[in-house]
């Protein structure tokens, strides 16, 4: 060590100091960020905590500014170094509603009634029995195709699952539950659900569009004779776990609800969501602003 040139020794000590400071910072960061996040959660979501610490209750309270700054800096550090710290597996609560996504390809732009009418008119126009059937088939667009998620067991009472967890993670960003609190009915919740569907579609419109495109591309590879459908609809299929002790024991559902639609032949306004949202109350798809 004594023979070491002075510059080299300085560099060595600087490296040692740098490593020591890094280690100390890591301890501060690990404890600080995790506790800040938990504290944040308790103050905002746990009844009584906000009241017990009124100086922390308001979002813009002075006492929250320093932890918020610390959280902001450490969050940037997590992003830079890949040390995200959100450890909330099955917490704070678990799900009673189990959602899966599904897609439907529709080759008619109009509702089902119009499709039937088109077929009927063609059939009436034909003069002979055999022609009737073939004319109906020729005029009517193909029947819709409804595809479940690869993750949804075909028999919910009997399956063994291995793999596909990454796709499930992605689909988990598209689905949502339609929870009914014990003291409310589905009818009471409709407005809230509508709001949640709008929020989810607005936040994930780009991913939903990519997912619908991907499902269609995959289907088209297996069925190259099929034209591009007029509508591709994203559904949520919801199973409900019964309360403990239910007899006979089985899941409720699936309740199937549309949430978004992509019309491949329609040009959406650039910069706006590239899918339409389903309005649960009006019962129709709307283009989002």
């Amino acid at each position: 060590m004594n023979a070491m040139p002075r510059l080299r020794r300085l560099a060595y000590w600087l490296l040692r100091a740098g490593l020591g400071l890094f280690v100390l910072w890591q301890f501060v960061f690990l404890l600080g960020l995790n506790l800040c996040q938990v504290g944040h959660h308790y103050v905002d979501n746990v009844t009584g905590v906000g009241e017990a610490f009124p100086s922390l209750a308001a979002e813009d309270a002075a006492a929250r500014q320093d932890p918020a700054k610390f959280e902001q800096i450490t969050t940037r550090w997590t992003e830079l170094t890949g040390q995200e710290q959100s450890w909330e597996l099955f917490a704070p609560d678990v799900w009673y509603d189990i959602p899966f996504v599904a897609v439907e390809f529709r080759w008619q732009a109009t509702p089902d009634g119009a499709r039937s009418a088109a077929g009927l008119i063609a059939a009436l126009a034909a003069s002979q029995q055999l022609q009737t059937a073939s004319a109906w088939l020729a005029a009517a667009p193909p029947a819709p195709v409804y595809l479940l998620s690869d993750n949804e067991p075909r028999d919910i009472h009997h399956y063994f699952r291995v793999g596909k967890f990454r796709l499930r993670r992605l689909e988990g960003h598209l689905d949502l539950d339609f929870y009914v609190p014990p003291d409310k009915s589905a009818e009471d919740m409709k407005d809230q659900w509508r709001q949640r569907v709008f929020e989810r579609v607005r936040a994930q419109a780009a991913v939903m569009r990519a997912y619908l495109e991907w499902r269609w591309t995959r289907y088209h590879l297996q069925h190259p004779d099929r034209d591009t459908p007029k509508q591709i609809i994203l559904y949520v299929r919801l199973y409900r776990v019964p309360p403990p002790g239910a007899s006979p024991w089985t899941w409720e559902g699936p309740e199937v609800r549309p949430i978004a639609r992509w019309r491949p032949h329609v040009r959406y306004v650039p910069g706006r969501p590239q899918v339409e949202v389903y309005d649960l109350i009006a019962g129709r798809f709307d283009v989002m602003e």
Binding site: A91, W95, L167, W214
Partner: protein, 376 residues
Amino acid sequence: MKEANKVVLIGLRPWFPWPLCRWRWLTEPVPAERLAILRIGLAAVLLIDILCTYLPDAATFFGKGSLGAPELYRRIDPPPWSWDATQSDVRQLPDDIAKGGIFHRTLSRSWRWSLLDDVEDLRILQACLIAWAIAAGFLLVGLLTRFAALVVWLLTMSFAYLCGMIDNAGDQVRYIVALYLMLTPCGAAWSLDAWLRRRRGRLKGRACIYPWVLRLLFVQLVMIYWTNGLYKASGYDWRHGDSLYYVLGDLTLTRWSYAQFPTPYPLTQALTWMVLVWEVGFPLWVCPLWAWLAERLEGIGLDRPRFALWVLRHAPLIALCFGVAFHLGIALTMELGFFVPYMLCLYLPLLPVERWQRHDYVMDAIKGCSTRAYSA
């Protein structure tokens, strides 16, 4: 002491201010095998992960027209870090200091990064996945270990932010361990590098490392369980013992149907509470005070029943064994990808692997030397 029994310290010794520099837990070297087993465990799981979940579905998750298309994430993610924002912050630093909010333009942006940010060509991405797998293989056998660890970390980060929606908590653990492996001499033992160095006579004696990385990983492990427990404690289902019942009824996650193997509700309730108590109390269970307390009790004659004293003395070990059992239970009942193997990697450095080699004298040698001696 024979040459083969000498302790050789590998890696940079961090400088700590007083009193931390006197804290043996943070400064006393440990056998390099503790880090080597972490390296081997992580590299093996990562290699399987790449080969089973990334490479077969590369076209689904990466590249143009995929579910992880670059243009898609540009629309979802907050704006990335930029020089302009940083320069603007530096220019206005005096004003911002006066207002008490420095670097807010830079800090309001995402600092995520990926070397493959704008790459859309699937062939390039597949080549990178193969390079990632090769680097993981090199890390596993310990060949060009530091370079392999660097490549593993760079590609881990790069793929993580290409399609972040497909990752879970297990992947988060992987990013963290990969970062630490890159910064440490993880090839100092049980590696081809170490074997080659020994053959060339450049490494003699037993390799030891400074323990900071293992201590940081232990704190990380504690924070994972503790914060998770604190979140759970705030939830209705965990406090009422219903959580495990509902988790086992979750058709999206479970390995088999609850209808096939219905678990009695009282059992799920008991397990729910056990997990909650274990997680909330984790820092307490693994703190080293238990052995001290057992000794004190024994010292004042409270040494009956012997079993209770044994449990007290081994509380950290019991808590860690519970953790392993907990994860194995998760792996058995739920499909959470590589969450369980990555989490179990965090337990590997806690195993006294050096004892398996019958090299107890290494520990004796370490205990016999002062920290000052190592720096010489």
